[in-house]
């Protein structure tokens, strides 16, 4: 049991391109939660504010990614 648990942290995962892209979502959620935890006066406000910020970051990053991809397609 402990050997299996240790193996989780010692051997890296093999990820596909889509999996790597999807791993952006929990990282953005962590950023949104910590930022809103430090900014909000009352803790009750944090879940809604973090969800809104998470959505904004994800949509914004995908928009930038699509924009750069289109620019690359046109220019190259």
């Amino acid at each position: 049991m402990s050997a299996q648990l240790a193996q989780i942290f010692t051997q890296g995962m093999t990820l596909s391109g889509l999996q790597r892209l999807m791993l952006m979502l929990p990282l953005c959620l962590s950023i949104a939660v910590i930022y809103k935890t430090t900014r909000c006066q009352r803790m009750q406000e944090v879940p809604t504010a973090a969800a809104v910020l998470w959505g904004t970051i994800v949509i914004g990053m995908f928009a930038v990614g699509i924009g750069l991809w289109l620019l690359f397609q046109i220019a190259v």
């Binding site: 942290f9 890296g12 995962m13 990820l15 790597r20 962590s30 910590i34 803790m43």
Partner: protein, 150 residues
């Protein structure tokens, strides 16, 4: 004994050191338990998820990734634990480690980003704990505020 009884000269650096050592502990020390626990869970889960994705040998590596390691160090206890694990594995089989780190370069990069971002997020938590420690009113200042002006 609560943090309000401690002098600000000690309370400020103590809140910062505790927040560095264990993410969120600075807030818990100041009496803000819910905020502290949220920071503790979020930063710790992000950091160890990164280690699990990339593998500890190629994720927490001060020789190969100096700047990232500096960012990771902001999580204090987590990074020290991961570095100790890295060192124990390195001593065991150095050649196999090198081969694995080349084979898993893409997931290692994801892991490094996760752990580095966790460190930088904890830096934000440390500054917030220090700012809140400064804002906590001491018993004397509260007494002054409540006393009527003569």
């Amino acid at each position: 004994m609560t943090s309000q009884n401690i002098s600000p000269v000690i309370r400020l650096p103590l809140a910062g050191i505790l927040a560095w050592l264990v993410p969120g502990l600075g807030h818990i020390f100041l009496g803000d338990r819910a905020r502290g626990l949220t920071c503790l869970v979020t930063v710790t889960v992000t950091f160890w998820s990164g280690v699990a994705i990339g593998g500890v040998r190629s994720t927490v590596d001060p020789q190969q990734r100096k700047l990232w390691f500096m960012a990771q160090l902001c999580t204090g206890g987590n990074t020290l634990g991961a570095y100790a694990l890295h060192q124990s594995l390195k001593a065991g089989n150095a050649k196999a480690d090198a081969a694995k780190s080349i084979g898993h370069w893409s997931s290692a990069d994801v892991g490094v980003h996760y752990t580095g971002v966790a460190g930088l997020l904890n830096l934000l938590v440390i500054f917030d704990a220090i700012a809140r420690a400064d804002a906590v009113p001491t018993r004397r200042s509260r007494r002054k505020r409540t006393e009527p002006a003569t």
